[in-house]
Amino acid sequence: MSKRKRFGVSQALTRGLSETIHVVENNAGVFRNVVLPLSRVELDPDNPRKLSITLDDMRHGLDKNDGLYQRKSEELEKLKELANTIETSGVINPVVVYKRGEVYRVVAGERRCLASILAGKQEIDARVFNEKPKGFELKLIQWIENTAREDLTLEERIGNIRDIISEYQNQHGKTALSATLIKNITGLSLPQATYYIAVLNAPHDVKMIIENGQVRSLDKAAVLATIESDEIRREAIKACIEGSSLKDLRKIIAREKLHSKNEKTEKAERKRGRVVSRVNMGFTLNPTVVQTIVHSVLNQAEYRKFSDIFSKVDWSHFDQTARAFRKLIEILEQDVR
């Protein structure tokens, strides 16, 4: 007699059932992916990315009498390229929106929406949040979306960080601003975060050249921002505008520091008393000064291998900074003959 047949649900179906259940259990009420009519989409006026072109411009064409006509037509040209790819292969990543009454407000994907209209699309793939993301999360999504883009100006990037920090402080209360904090909320590297702190507190003249686009790189701006002497900063700014490299800028600072150190040393030699047999490294109230020194040394090829030792230092911390500086001296004393 043959074995009695056993019945069961096919594996594919069992898998489908259990996967569906898992999706609901893990994601109910959070977000969903849908195809959205573009007519129901609106842009976020608070998005840190400052596109001047609007949805209405896309729908009805640019108006020659518009004061922003020039800028808008430049933006339109840039969008055409994206529109071409959307026309042929659609939008690859869904845009992110949240429901706001009858319309959907874009959290991330302004350009994709604009370009889709340009490409003659009626709908767009979207990930819909059921509720407005909280201020901080919203800014963070926009920030993450924006950092992946290359055509942001330095000023826009700094603006993003400023907004994220202020949203963070709105939500978590006023907290002391440190590089570590910025690192933790944005996922930036610590040196990058330190640079941002420096430029956020930059003196007026540095802010000016950031604003008018004369300095585009964050590290240059950060180096300029940390120069305390107005005179040297002016010189460095001038050099920067003329196209000096980061290394050159650091040399200007280093030369200046050396110069003032020498003056002091000479004076000391004229003093009476005990023979001076060692160099006193002095102190500073600004840990960023030490950080700049450490980074300047580490930037030289032969010292790069020591970078790891300093990667965990919180430069806003006097203790840690002092220890890091002593460590640097130790390393240099062994190396420099």
Partner: protein, 291 residues
């Protein structure tokens, strides 16, 4: 007000029998003001409580009889043809539920042609409107004030009618025969449940009470399939621990002049009644004690 719907896009799995049993349980046993809604163009659920009439405009379909409250001489009823089905919600008309022979139970019957028209809608803006109508109706102050429970029987489909039920429901039950094809129907319904769950705000989730093994027979096929669902840890949570067996008595009480006419008319010791009570107790416990 709780809204419970029985869904499966496979036909013949006992949605109507379940809806009927639940509606009668809530109104008779629990004395709860209950509204039964027939959202299936076949109108079988309506036929249990009303003498549905052949629609002269659509001879293959049924329509509700003249409403007992209708009086053609009353000027208030001037614009009314005297019939009222749940499908009026798609036509901007008021729905006037019919009383049934059971105290506490009212019925908003189906109307074949009108429901089919709503079901066949494909244009995206109109579909969206259809989806919302039942929710709007059930949220109206009149309905909210009159009923404590709503029981909805659905069409065997995944179309706009079923979606609108899912959008309006607070709780759903998926009855299924333990056979391959109806179990595939479960998958279709879970997909709809998923879409709706992802779209809803967290504070008003769509609760899946579970999959109800229905028309169960003590055969190897049914037992094996039930067991293979129970063996999967994710699915087993949603397999209800109660079931309804295949019994001819459910068909017998369906006929128009049947006596008894309800499963709850039988003696307490009747095995079918006991089983029905167990199922309804379980569902009602999950709905009303789950605040």
């Amino acid at each position: 007000m709780k809204v419970i719907a029985f869904l499966n896009n496979k036909g013949g799995v006992g949605k109507t029998t379940c809806s009927r049993t639940m509606a009668e349980y809530l109104s008779r046993t629990r004395k709860m003001p209950t509204l039964a809604i027939d959202f299936d163009p076949q109108c079988n659920f309506s036929h249990q409580y009303l003498k549905m009439e052949i629609d002269p405009a659509a001879p293959e379909g049924l329509m509700p009889p003249i409403h007992p409250d209708y009086s053609p001489d009353n000027p208030d009823d001037e614009d009314w043809d005297g019939r009222s089905s749940i499908a009026e919600i798609f036509y901007g008309q008021g729905v006037i539920p019919y009383p049934t022979y059971i105290e506490h139970l009212d019925l908003a019957p189906g109307h074949a042609e009108k429901l089919l028209a709503a079901e066949s809608v494909r244009k995206s803006e109109v579909v969206e409107k259809v989806h919302k109508q039942l929710t709007n109706f059930l949220n109206s102050p009149d309905v909210q004030a009159t009923y404590k429970a709503v029981v909805i029987d659905t069409a065997p489909s995944k179309g706009p009618l079923t979606v609108s039920v899912i959008k309006a429901a607070t709780h759903i039950v998926i009855p299924s025969v333990m056979e391959e094809q109806p179990v595939q129907g479960i998958y279709g319904m879970l997909q709809l449940w998923m879409q709706e769950s992802l779209a809803r705000e967290k504070n008003r989730p769509l609760k899946l009470i579970g999959i109800l093994p229905n028309m169960f027979k003590q055969t190897r096929l049914h037992k094996d399939i039930l067991k293979s669902l129970q063996d999967n840890s994710a699915i087993s949570k949603y397999i209800m621990p109660v079931k309804l067996s295949q019994r001819i008595v459910f068909a017998e009480i369906d006929s128009e002049d049947a006596n008894p006419h309800s499963i709850f008319d039988f003696h307490e010791s009747h095995v079918a009644k006991q089983e029905a009570l167990e199922v309804c107790d379980f569902i009602s416990e999950r709905i009303f004690n789950d605040e």
